[in-house]
Amino acid sequence: MTAELRTTAGESLYPRLEPLLAQIQKPIQYVGGELNAQLKPWDAAAVHWALMYPDAYEVGLPNQGLMILYEVLNERADALAERTYAVWPDLAALMRANGVPQFTVDGHRSVADFDVLGVSFATELGYTNLLEALDLAGVPLHSVARDESHPVVVAGGHAAFNPEPVADFVDCAVLGDGEQAVGDITDVVKAWKAQGRPGGREELLARLARVDGVYVPRFYAVSYADDGVIASVSRTRDDVPAKVGKRTVMDLDEWPYPKTPLVPLAESVHERMSVEIFRGCTRGCRFCQAGMITRPVRERTITGIGSMVEQGLKATGYEEVGLLSLSSADHSEIGQLAKELADRYEGTNTGLSLPSTRVDAFNVTLANELSRNGRRSGLTFAPEGGSERIRRVINKTVSKEDLVRTVTTAYANGWTQVKLYFMCGLPTETDEDVLEIAELAVEVIRAGREASGRKDIRCTVSIGGFVPKPHTPFQWAAQAGAETIDHRLRVLRAKINEDRRIGRSIGLRYHDGKPGVIEGLLSRGDRRVGRVIERVWREGGRFDGWSEHFSYDRWVAAATEELAPFGVGLDWYTTRERTEHEILPWDHLDSGLDKEWLWDDWQDALSEEEVADCRWTPCYDCGVCPTMGTEIQIGPTGRSLLPIAPV
């Protein structure tokens, strides 16, 4: 960027951005001014946060994590938080040509002016977008090249539980819940600035490394053995923890965020308001990283949820409320909650929805209450595995009969659309396991037509390729290659179409196996993978979560060339099964799960043994509660929702 184009810190770039907006697609996503957006004066805050969701605005805006931190930080008098999202290539090109840097949508301030750039990684496919944003911001890509004038780049979100592939690019990673961690980080940055930035950036990072839940990769050295595996991970300073533990917010009722959810003008992926009804999950699905790293279960109470729904609807005007969690029908008060919310909003065309429902937790009464005042949308179930055998492997046990009965009940009660989620490429999976998905779908349509007396019912089968994730029992598993996934999807499609009279009622949605392979590389990668990410970005890689932008060939070529000097490669990271005592890149990052328990659970998976939920059966010693000093917080509370006064 040329010197004369530099602005004073915190100055709005909008006058320079506006002429560019007239030349691009969907300019509304860059103008800000959403309902409930906040804009504070720059000089009033001691610590400035730019919060980034490294994907398109329409995906990033509804993100709950970012919305929560935005409010929590802006509630502090000494802090200011603004949002920034990945910029599409059409605008990025114009910004480079006109010297306009990466900006926040709230104040259109240069991201480089902020003290902290917090990036929330829900998926690893956002890594190239981080590099693009840093480059557009004029911030050096590499942590070591930054000085005290640059923002501290902090990674959060589920992918931050293995930030090693981006260790060169981020300054720190926050493990676990962010609500309290962002406050602690703000305190540290504020004090360091007030003291005149003693010791420069190194000292600031060292102080941050002592904050609970904050991992600073530069203070840990990794060495590799001749066969490519990690030989050791060691601290380079005595004053940082040997193992970094995650943060856990207890008593969610005390953190009722977002209180005033953002409502965009632009269309977003979720046209509804969301209320998180509990955090964590102990169902123990072995593929599910979210369920493993967010333990224990912490429920919001029925009254806490009721007031969040009430306040949020008033603040947004949304006509649908999503009751969000990893398995919402498992909330101890879900039946009462759905009924009493439906009573409250009777006659207001306000619908309720759950993201998806466990087959064994579904009942028609609940589903009817959810749609009583709103639009009756389709139902979504996630059996995940096609055969009973594979469902035992992944610990999501439900019998075929129960599945068919549940879905048939839904059809019989007037639902005409049912979506079923499955995964393909699970450990020990064979073609037969996947082909059972077709049998199941056919059976569901057959029984559904009979039960409902209708021909126009539909079942959509959605399939994703399984990607083994860190901190799960499947972290040791060999990932299925793209060819295997593609082959199984092919035979599945043929099987579904065998009988057109049934097959035409079944929709099949899937992606080819290639993006999953790259996600696998990034999920279980180590620091050596950073070179691959950087190269892909330099060669034009952006928006890897979007099929029209994702280039498998570019990733494969970059991985081959950048990893060869280390004697490893794409397959080594993905389709290779790990051994019990291999040092995994994230072993020094503590989700609370006991590694031995994870291994035993992996062995149980291979012998198709199930484990029951610890909410209703005795503790199975996963390790989280004692390690983290936490406990399960569930109801029922015995309280109920009173009608709200009509307005």
């Binding site: 509304i28 103008v31 309902l35 003008l265 269309e267 005007g317 006509e319």
Partner: protein, 255 residues
């Protein structure tokens, strides 16, 4: 026979309100769909008692009239809403204005006059004002004259199916140029129709006839919409409703 939800049908529409609103500032970058979403949510936040369609997927009764293109500002966008409870139009206007973003202003709200016909029938023409930053009146004025002197001006218009050649000239009712602060201003009255001729197309026509190329992105504002009469005047489309007055019925509910 289509299935219907259990329970009584939704309450009927008892009052129609016609609204003129403006989109200004940053929200000129909002598309029609963006504004429609914002309006629906604002109606809910303002607790306007909307009438809904029947069925499993009830929708509020809202009719939109031809929207200004994304990137163009407007002082004259129109929408008609159906209410299930009679309300004071001015109270609805104020409540809706407060609930919408700052850059969307609800300028007028009148009750649809009985027997006055549809609002769409009263709108066939747009009055545009297009600021051309970095351009002088001396550059613009002759180009406008040249445009008006032609009978046919073919321009390439971007459509869903790629570029398509259209004759932009017949839609241009009148055009003139004036000088503004650091810009020249094009005033143009355009008849609506198919293919729709928008400010961009008029600028393309100026480029075609006079090689006029604005150095900076132009800023268009729709100043008015209405029916073009024989004298070349664009009539205010809400006039018939104002003249007819509200049907004399029971007292208005408060919003």
């Amino acid at each position: 026979m289509a299935r219907q939800p259990d329970g009584p049908p939704p309450p009927p529409t008892v009052q129609k309100l016609r609204i003129r609103y403006a989109k200004r500032g940053r929200l000129r970058f909002a598309s029609h769909r963006d504004l429609a979403r914002a309006l629906e949510r604002a109606l809910r936040r303002a607790q306007v008692p909307m009438a809904f369609s029947a069925g499993f997927s009830p929708h509020p009764k809202i009719s939109y009239l031809g929207a200004a293109p994304t990137g163009a500002a407007s002082e004259a966008e129109y929408v008609e809403i159906g209410l299930s409870v009679r309300c004071d139009p001015e109270a609805v206007r104020a409540a809706l204005d407060a609930a919408l973003p700052e850059d969307v202003a609800v300028l007028e709200c009148v009750e649809a006059g009985e027997g006055t016909g549809s609002l769409a029938d009263r709108i066939d023409t747009s009055v545009w004002r297009v600021e051309l930053p970095g351009m002088t009146l001396d550059e613009l004025a002759p180009a406008v004259e040249e445009l008006l002197a032609r009978d046919v001006v073919v321009v390439a218009k971007r459509t869903k199916n790629g570029l398509k050649d259209i004759d932009a000239r017949p839609s241009v009712v009148s055009a003139s140029a004036s000088a503004g602060a650091g810009c020249a201003i094009l005033h143009v009255v355009v008849r609506q129709g198919t293919p729709a001729v928008r400010p961009d197309d008029v600028l393309a026509a100026l480029a075609a006839v006079a090689d006029l190329h604005p150095p900076l992105p132009p800023r268009a504002v729709r100043e008015a919409q209405g029916r073009l009469d024989d004298t070349g005047t664009v009539a205010d489309p809400l006039d018939p409703d104002r003249t007819a007055g509200a049907p004399d019925q029971e007292a208005h509910a408060t919003v």
